[in-house]
C-alpha cells in the first residue's frame, strides 16, 4: 500500500537579494495512513517550510526540486496550480500557529468555515447545507453551543476557541492529511492539552494522517507515532517516537534533549547547546550542516556525502558516527 505522503529528496532554495539560501537539503519524509509524524527541531531548522513546500505556499522566490512529493501514490509536482487547488485545503489541510491571525477578523467564524467548505467541497453545496455540515463538525469536536459560536467574530473568542475553530476548518473538508504547524504554542498548558487531545482524537478516529510540526519534544512524544528530527534544512533522524525521544541516536537529537528540562531534577542538568545554526547563504556549507556544532565531528563529516544509515527497519539516522 502507498504511504499517505511520501517525499523523496526535496531540495529547496530561496532567491534573495542577499544570495541563494539553501533552505532544505534532500529531505526524505513519509507519513503512513492514519499515522501521526512529528517534525521537530530548533527555530530555523526548516520544519515549517517543509510543510509549506508540500502545499506550495513558499512564495515566488522559492526553487523546489524533488524526486517526488506524492500524496497517496500520486506525484503532486506535475499538477498545474489550478489543479493543485483540489489538493490544497481539500485533500491536505493545514493548521497554523496563530489562529487569531489566520481567521478573518471581519467575518463571523461560522461564515468563514462555511466559505471554506463550499470552496473545497467536491460537490456544489448550498449555503444552508454547508452551515449544517459545519455545525455538525463543531459539535463532533465538542464545541458547546456551536450554533451561537458560529455567530461570533474571532476577537470575541479566546485563543483556545479560535484554535478549535481552525481545527474544525481543517476537518470540515474531510482531508486525508493534516499539516499542523505549532497549533498550540500560543496557548497555555491546560488549554494546550485540551486542544491537542481534541485534534488528535479527531484525526485518529477518522483515520486522518497528521504531520505535526513542533519544537516541543514532550508534546510530540505524547501524540506521535514517529519523529523526524531536522537541523538547518537537513533531516537527521527518523524513527519511532519512543526511540527517538528516549534513546536518540543522532548527536544532535541527543543534544536537543539534553538542553530541555524533561526528566531532569535541577537547573544544573540543563546542558545548553553550543554554537548556532549555520548561515544557509553559504555556498560552502559542510556536507553535514551540524558538523560545526557536533561533539563527534570528523573531517569526513564536512566533505563526504553523509549516509542515511538504517539502524533498524523503522529507524534511520543521517550520520557517520551515531550513538549506540
Amino acid at each position: 500500500m502507498n504511504a499517505m505522503l511520501d517525499i523523496r529528496d526535496l531540495t529547496l532554495e530561496f532567491e534573495t537579494p542577499g544570495g541563494l539560501v539553501h533552505a532544505l537539503d534532500r529531505v526524505n519524509l513519509s507519513v503512513e495512513r492514519g499515522e501521526c509524524v512529528a517534525l521537530v527541531g530548533e527555530s530555523g531548522s526548516g520544519k515549517s517550510i517543509t510543510g509549506m513546500s508540500i502545499l506550495r505556499l513558499n512564495g515566488a522566490n522559492a526553487r523546489i526540486a524533488a524526486d517526488q512529493i506524492a500524496l497517496d501514490g500520486g506525484d503532486l509536482q506535475g499538477l498545474s496550480d489550478r489543479a493543485f487547488q483540489t489538493v490544497r485545503g481539500r485533500r491536505i489541510a493545514m493548521i497554523f500557529q496563530n489562529a487569531k491571525s489566520a481567521l478573518n477578523p471581519l467575518r463571523k467564524v461560522g461564515d468563514t468555515l462555511t466559505d471554506i467548505l463550499r470552496a473545497h467541497a467536491p460537490e456544489k453545496l448550498t449555503r444552508r447545507a454547508a452551515r449544517a455540515r459545519v455545525q455538525e463538525v463543531l459539535e463532533q469536536i465538542g464545541i458547546h453551543q456551536a450554533e451561537d459560536r458560529m455567530l461570533a467574530y474571532p476577537a470575541e473568542l479566546s485563543g483556545g476557541m479560535c484554535q478549535r475553530i481552525m481545527i474544525a476548518a481543517a476537518l470540515v473538508c474531510e482531508p486525508e492529511l493534516i499539516i499542523a504547524d505549532e497549533p498550540t504554542s500560543a496557548l497555555d498548558v491546560t488549554t494546550q492539552a485540551k486542544v491537542m487531545d481534541l485534534l488528535m482524537s479527531a484525526c485518529r478516529t477518522r483515520g486522518v494522517a497528521v504531520l505535526f510540526i513542533t519544537h516541543d519534544l514532550a508534546l510530540a512524544s505524547a501524540y506521535c507515532d514517529r519523529a523526524v528530527v531536522m537541523h538547518a534544512g537537513q533531516m537527521l533522524e527518523d524513527g519511532p517516537a519512543d526511540e527517538v525521544f528516549v534513546r536518540p541516536r543522532h548527536p544532535y537529537s541527543r543534544m536537543l534533549l539534553d538542553s530541555m528540562p524533561y526528566g531532569k531534577d535541577a537547573a544544573e542538568e540543563l546542558k545548553p547547546m553550543g554554537g548556532n545554526l549555520p548561515d544557509l547563504r553559504r555556498d560552502d556549507l559542510p556536507s553535514c550542516r551540524f558538523a560545526d556544532r557536533c561533539p563527534r565531528v570528523q573531517p569526513c563529516c564536512r566533505t563526504a556525502a553523509v549516509p542515511q544509515t538504517a539502524l533498524r527497519d523503522d529507524h534511520t539516522v543521517r550520520c557517520f558516527f551515531p550513538h549506540d
Binding site: 498548558v189 487531545d197 479527531a202 505524547a222
Partner: protein, 272 residues
C-alpha cells in the same frame, strides 16, 4: 532561617470594566519571599500572575493590601512617587517580550545604562560605560553588540539586553515575567544558565513568573499556584509537583506533556 525580603499581605487588584463593574484580577494574595529564594509563580493565562508581578514591581498600584520590602512598607507608594525612592533600584523587572519592551530607537548600551541615568548616584553616573559593560558581560551579551539596535539582535541576545538592564544597578530582587517563553528550548537553557550564575554572583532573589511548569520544577525553591486571581496553593517546589493538594494544581500538572507518556493512542482514545 533566612530573612524575609518581601512580604505581600492580602493584595487585591480590581480593574474597572465600566458601568460600575470590576474585574478582580488579584484576590487576597498573601505570601512571603525569603532572601536568596527563587519563587515560581504559575497559573494559566488570565490567572493574574503577571498583574501580581507588576504590582510587586510597583508598576501598578494595588487596590488593597500591603507590601513590605526589606522591612519597609511600600503599600502607599507606586508609580512616579515610588520611582524616587531608594527601593526602585532594588526591585527590577525582566519582561516577557523583549522586542516589545526594549525601545526600538535606542542602542543596547543605552538601554542597559538607562537605569543609571535615572536612578544612579553621581559616582555611578560617572562610571556608566564601565558598569554597562560589566552588566552586559555578566548577562552574556558580547561587548561588540552594545551598539546594536534591538531589531538587529537575535531573540536570545534581546533577552540578555533586558537582563543586563535589570541588573545594572545591582538590585536585590528580580521579577522575571516569562523571560524565556519567547525563546526556543535550546536557547532557553542558555538563558536559564546565565540567570543561575547571576543569582550566585550577585546574591539575587527571583520571582519567576511562567506557565512552563517543566522549567519551574527545575529552578524554583517554592511555588505559588494562581487561578482566577486567587492563590490556590503554595509550598516547596518538590511538594507541589509530587504531592499537590488542590484539584486545580493536579489538573495543571497533569496537563504538562511528558516524554514517553502517551495522551492519545492510535485508536483516538486516552490510554489508561
Amino acid at each position: 532561617m533566612t530573612e524575609i525580603l518581601l512580604e505581600a499581605g492580602a493584595i487585591v487588584k480590581d480593574f474597572p470594566l465600566g458601568r460600575g463593574k470590576v474585574l478582580r484580577a488579584v484576590d487576597q494574595v498573601s505570601f512571603k519571599l525569603r532572601t536568596g529564594e527563587i519563587l515560581g509563580l504559575v497559573g494559566e493565562s488570565g490567572s493574574g500572575k503577571s498583574t501580581l508581578a507588576r504590582i510587586l514591581a510597583r508598576l501598578l498600584p494595588q487596590t488593597e493590601g500591603a507590601i513590605w520590602f526589606d522591612k519597609a512598607s511600600l503599600a502607599s507608594f507606586s508609580g512616579p512617587r515610588f520611582a524616587r525612592m531608594a527601593e526602585r533600584r532594588d526591585i527590577q523587572m525582566v519582561f516577557q517580550d523583549p522586542l516589545a519592551s526594549l525601545n526600538p530607537r535606542w542602542r543596547a548600551g543605552q538601554i542597559i545604562g538607562d537605569p543609571i541615568r535615572r536612578l544612579g548616584t553621581a559616582e555611578e553616573k560617572q562610571k556608566r560605560p564601565a558598569l554597562v559593560a560589566e552588566a552586559a558581560e555578566r548577562s552574556g551579551l558580547p561587548a561588540a553588540l552594545l551598539n546594536s539596535f534591538p531589531h538587529q539582535l537575535s531573540g536570545g541576545q534581546r533577552a540578555r539586553v533586558d537582563i543586563a538592564r535589570a541588573i545594572v544597578l545591582r538590585p536585590k530582587l528580580l521579577i522575571l515575567d516569562e523571560p524565556t517563553s519567547a525563546l526556543d528550548a535550546s536557547l532557553q537553557a542558555h538563558v536559564v544558565q546565565t540567570l543561575m550564575q547571576l543569582r550566585a554572583d550577585l546574591d539575587l532573589t527571583y520571582i519567576f513568573v511562567t506557565h512552563d511548569l517543566n522549567l519551574v520544577r527545575l529552578i524554583a525553591d517554592r511555588i505559588l499556584v494562581m487561578q482566577k486571581g486567587r492563590l490556590v496553593e503554595q509550598g516547596p517546589a518538590r511538594q507541589i509537583f509530587d504531592t499537590p493538594k488542590e484539584a486545580y494544581t493536579r489538573e495543571l500538572i497533569a496537563a504538562i506533556p511528558q516524554l514517553g507518556q502517551r495522551r492519545i493512542d492510535r485508536t483516538g482514545r486516552t490510554p489508561v
